[in-house]
Amino acid sequence: MSTRRKSLTIACVTALTAFGIAACGGDSGGGGGEASGGGKGGDINVTMTSFPDYIDPQLSYTLEGWEVMYNVYTPLLTYKHAKGEAGTEVVPALAKALPEVSADGKTYKLTLRPNMKYSDGTPIKASDFTYAIQRLFKADSGGSVFYEPIVGASEYAEGKADTIAGIKTDDATGDITISLTEPNGTFDGLLALAFAAPVPPTTPLDKDATPKPPPSSGPFMITNVEAPQTMTMERNPNFQTVKDAGATEVADAGVDKITITQNKSNSAQVTGVQQNTIDFMVDPPDADRLAEVKAKFSDRFRMEDSINTYYFWMNTQTAPFNDLKVRQAVNYAIDPEALNRVFGGRLHPTQQILPPGMPGYEEYKLYPGPDMAKAKALLAEANPADKDITVWTDDEPDRKRIGEYYHDVLTQLGFNATLKVIAGDVYFTTIGNQSTPDLDTGFSDWFQDFPHPDDFFRPLLNGASILPTNGNNFSRVSIPELDAKMDKLLEQQLTDDVKKQYAELDKAYMEQAVWAPYGNEEFTTFLSERMDFDKSYHHLLFNQDYSSFALK
């Protein structure tokens, strides 16, 4: 998902990538997942620099949003509530067990646990899963691309069918059968995302539900949203029905109420946590405060691993970035070390798509530099007729600085660049909307949705991901032979050979210079003195696990 923090090499998550056509059924049996929650209750305050893009499980696709969704909307399967690599394990949630997968890898069977209720008392039904998947397509979710392999999904999306033929549900028994057009090595992981979390049919099918979010099926429910300023999460009074149904892997809430507020001043947030008026700040302290926080508050501050890539996208379908030489010139001109300093030294410099810790990552460097002379020479060769470009970034302080740096680099290369800085909470929806004018190039980032390299290619670089709205293929990349390779790899288990092929895919895209990647970010946890620092942990996929928050 787009937006925000974290990074650093995580020793291979490979072994945990238990995806693939061989994924077999059976009860997870709990496995002793770290029991989050169970705190003494109480109210806490959380701040974020940018409000979530949507408060809607099918639409939200930013880290800020997923951080909230993870503990509000429970899918059939979920990622274990545990820190580190353990958190990348898929376990049953609303479903009784992991899916039974047919021998050909195309049919998934699950059964919903009985007698569960949403926060408003509405029973959770098997057909609510179908409704959630339908919403993905009707509301133009950026996550819909992942679920296209479901039989009949494309026809439904195009309006040629009234329902998705590949999903059969029985509300009486709770049985859910999903048929895929091809085997899909990531499908377990996809069922564990909030995109696929059941919602009641009273939720608008084709509209953003942010003003009135659907009732919850997780430990917290959303009781107030005043986007983009504030929102409130409170304990879900009906969550016990989910627990009673046997969903032991879904963590309970450790506090009674979380008030989330948008605060554009990172420095004020740091001071707030220092003075205990803010209990947790989502964003890492800015470079100028980081050293002070590290030195003075080591008992409630730590660096956190994360798997992400920061990059500049370039619209490959319009001039001047439809010219390979222009895109290569940008890659030569960018200095990842300069950008590392903007992050206060929290960035691991890179020039490739897959981040360290992601299966398939193999370090390489196609554009050694920064080499401004080489960049200018390439640009002179390309001699683009159109040098008027718009550079996009958002208004979070570090993003703004990144945008200003990039603007300066492009100006030095001879472009007549205009910098557009827009609010962080609408940034990705704005640049993901094809009707927005002047989408030439700009800032972006990507945090893993699930520990499979396909997550860094399909939503970001596959031709099918060029969507009218909520798209994530900002470079509008469509290279049919690489799309085909991507599809072929997805059908296979993540063996060493497949990982090698993903590494080759990474290189093949960067030979086309579809992005100008520059770093992988390290995240932080900084809590107030009131909070139980040892209990709270950073989840590798969803940033901070809000169910782990507890007061001392």
Binding site: A338, F343, H407, K420
Partner: protein, 345 residues
Amino acid sequence: MGGLIGEVEAPGEPPLPVGVPAEELRGSSPWRLAWMRLRRDRMALAFGVLFVLIVLVCLAAPLWADHVAHTGPNQNHITDKVIRDGQETYVVAPDGTPLGPGLHGQFLLGADQNGRDVMVRLLYGGRTSIFIGVIAALVTTVFAVLVGLVCGYYRGWIDAVLSRALEVVWAFPVLLLGIALGTTLSLGGLKIGSLVVAGDSLWIPILIIGFVYVPYMARPIRGEILALREKEFVEAAVAQGKGPIRIMVSELLPNVASTIIVFFTLNIANNMLLESSLSFLGAGVRPPNASWGTMIADGYQTIYTAPHLTIVPGLMIVLTVLALNVFGDGLRDALDPRAKIRLEH
């Protein structure tokens, strides 16, 4: 020794300069009399000179950038090194800490987090802020005078319509209106017929600021014109067969000139403050361009570790606005000491 002031004062006219020999006053034009009064107001003159100095220093920004700092206002030097105390030092350290101020041509006021020379940005920022202040004041003045003259002269339905329109604008707090317009226009720019202004153009904050202050200047001018309209000299002009436009331009306008001049001066100061506020809130000057407002916005994020990044541009705004206000007050006293011209909002 001639008689002192007051001896040749005419009823209804501004008081004459104090302490000036009567023979010197005789035959002097109102402008000369005003200059005499202003000359004796040392405080106003000192601040007027200060404003001129600030303008001159800011105008010299390219000279400083090219010959002293050797860098432009938007040029990043994040990984560059400079010599400090005989040692090579990064402009921005690996942990992101920017270079502090020092007695060197380059980075005299240090660097910001993008490794840009703060002194160069301060000078260019001053140019931007003053340019916007002055041009927006001109925009306000042109429209306010036009509306004030037309409303005050024609009265009736024209006055009613235009006055209501002014009241609509007046009804919105200046800052809120500025933010609303600035945020909207910054994305798509301004397109009115063949007039197209890009979203990042300096003309966007100029037009916004110029527009929002029109009612504040137009209403008092209208009031004065309404009063002047009843005077005998206007009736005489009508009797002589002069047309409305001629009467407005040659009879009425000169009589409100002093008001306009004072308003114009005070308006520059207000415009600079509004520009800074809008830029601070992200609805004024577009990054990476520098203005004192954008510099404060950039600097306040680092106020704990590098307070000078906020304080220096803030101080420049205070000095410039103070200079303009004191000078404007002096000018008002010189042109018409009995006037109560004040730009309130």
